[in-house]
Subunit: 357 residues, 2 copies
Amino acid sequence: MDTRRVRPNLSLIAARLDVSVATVSNALSGKGRVSPELALKIRSAANDLGYVPTMAGRALRTGRSHVLGLVLPDIANPLFPQIAQAIERAAAEAGYGVLIADSRNEVSTQTEAIGRLLERGVDGIVIVPRRGTRVADIGSPVAVIDSPSTPGNTVSADHWQGGQAVIEHLVALGHRKIVLVGNNPASNVQNDRIGGMKSRLPPGTEARVIWAEKIEAAQGPGAPLGLAALAREGFTACAAVSDLLALRALTELLGAGVAVPEGMSVTGFDDLIWAQAVRPALTTIRMDMPAIATVAVGALTAAIEGGSSGARGPVMAPSPEAGRVPMRLIIRDSSAPPGPAIKTNTANRSSNGGIPE
Amino acid sequence: MDTRRVRPNLSLIAARLDVSVATVSNALSGKGRVSPELALKIRSAANDLGYVPTMAGRALRTGRSHVLGLVLPDIANPLFPQIAQAIERAAAEAGYGVLIADSRNEVSTQTEAIGRLLERGVDGIVIVPRRGTRVADIGSPVAVIDSPSTPGNTVSADHWQGGQAVIEHLVALGHRKIVLVGNNPASNVQNDRIGGMKSRLPPGTEARVIWAEKIEAAQGPGAPLGLAALAREGFTACAAVSDLLALRALTELLGAGVAVPEGMSVTGFDDLIWAQAVRPALTTIRMDMPAIATVAVGALTAAIEGGSSGARGPVMAPSPEAGRVPMRLIIRDSSAPPGPAIKTNTANRSSNGGIPE
DNA sequence: AACGATTGGTTAATCGTTTAATCACCCCCT
DNA sequence: AGGGGGTGATTAAACGATTAACCAATCGTT
């Protein structure tokens, strides 16, 4: 038995049934005029032979590769799995494959990556742009996933609303002095998140914003955020704009002897993999990636299949509301009402690190 | 000015210079017989027009798409960015694009994903198989990245040696009672790592292995690993088989009042993004992904370009040594000599969570 | 009964590239 | 001078699918 069966093509089926390839093509695509009985025979023959249309042939003729490009910005963005998976799934559902390209966080590499995708004949591109870059007309439809406040943005999570939800949650728990932790003030996404947070601060509450990159620039990389000191000043909650920052805050607090959430509540953003792995599990807020991907891919395919009228640059979501997808708060164990200890954490603790001598 | 310039093709160039398309093709590929002067003219004309060969046409004729498939197993594997980036880079260097497919951690989806890639005409597939699956002859070259002890493995990190390096490090620091933390005993990778660790235990040292999934199966999801209790038993170090487990261990210890690394050292595996973000920064061990990707892609392209003799199933690394890539220990702050506290961590700690009243 | 409309199918061109086969020359050698 | 051997280019056939144009029946109408 020869395992390397040759890939059957239209003419094989045509020969088998003694009809023309055109008829086979028509029968399978349901486009031309073929009698129902013959169409049935053709389809079953195609099935028997395990016929799968060759993309190259179709692409050459139709000019559509049915492949989308995906360009990601950061060298090792932990969001990558979520994004890639959602996009791949949505694309697969729409009959498209996904070709990836990494822009290694450089503008030049980003344009180069786009070029490579275009050369490969992708029908459209989903791009999470590097901070500060703006995608222009590249001769192919592009869906931009960044932030609703970025001009040209196609679709993205509603980071502003996400920030609001976090603060609402903390305020409802009774927190009145909250520290807001960002990383880089130049990021649209982070600014949206912080902005949303600030917008929901009721009168009588106090918030202080600290930027990790600023601290590191001043005090060297890896410098502590100084959260324990803030706890001593009376801050009872710490809302970070990313799970990575939240993790840093959490471990810093724990290491400094401030219990979480008893001494200070901590919240993150994005619900990355480790949010559930840490103890206490992280209260965080999550993008609806499947929804975002569906809108992005939908807008893209609409533009592609729209034909000549299709956009050659950024495409837009069908409606403004569709372009800003709400985020969902996920309450775990790292947030709780402030105040006197609920459980004590000082057992087993001594000056040798908690080991009885 | 019409921004939508039509994509130039061979015949456009041919017409411009009044030569045949075959000559143009020959000149650009350097294959046929073309006079040096004409070749030069053709190349410069191609350059001027911004000619880029259309993949569809070439693929149709040659049967090679110059696209590789990448199949990943876990729904949100945090290693994904590292792998995808390395593979993409190696592939791009070899002139290939990378089409992704997610197997959502199911065997059926994995075969289906492979099928989709094949339909799209990929020339070969890089696969990180789901636990326990074995990739057979799929009619296309496949590079398997799993573990050296997996039959059919093409290339992977030397997890065994990685485990050894971790233990050597901890033993050199003076640790004699070490807890080894795994997640699932069915994983080849985890078993290799644990095996390597055990193999480097000098006489007089004690090691205890705990499996997170077993504990969770018995005590419910999210159950504590019980590390603080082990610390009280005299264990001074904890070597986890993944950074995720290490993170869980670290936060559990910190939360229970055991200082790290003073009370207990903690090490991870893979050097994922958060290893540097936590405090103390995690001592871990990292795969040489670029090297692994280079071998995988190299073996694949060799099989592809080897033509008819090319393997239709798993391909092998050029040599056994090339197939097992050493891992590199990265020493940070979470590992230190055991024993009496180096710094005390009890300041600011009280029963209300460290907040002065 | 003849004509137009409809149905069911075929022919052939086309997409862009590669490549085997062929051809027209010029040069060199006997 | 005439044939062999290069050299530099052209011709034409493929790859596989799609689709416009065409053709041969059959059917319905008046």
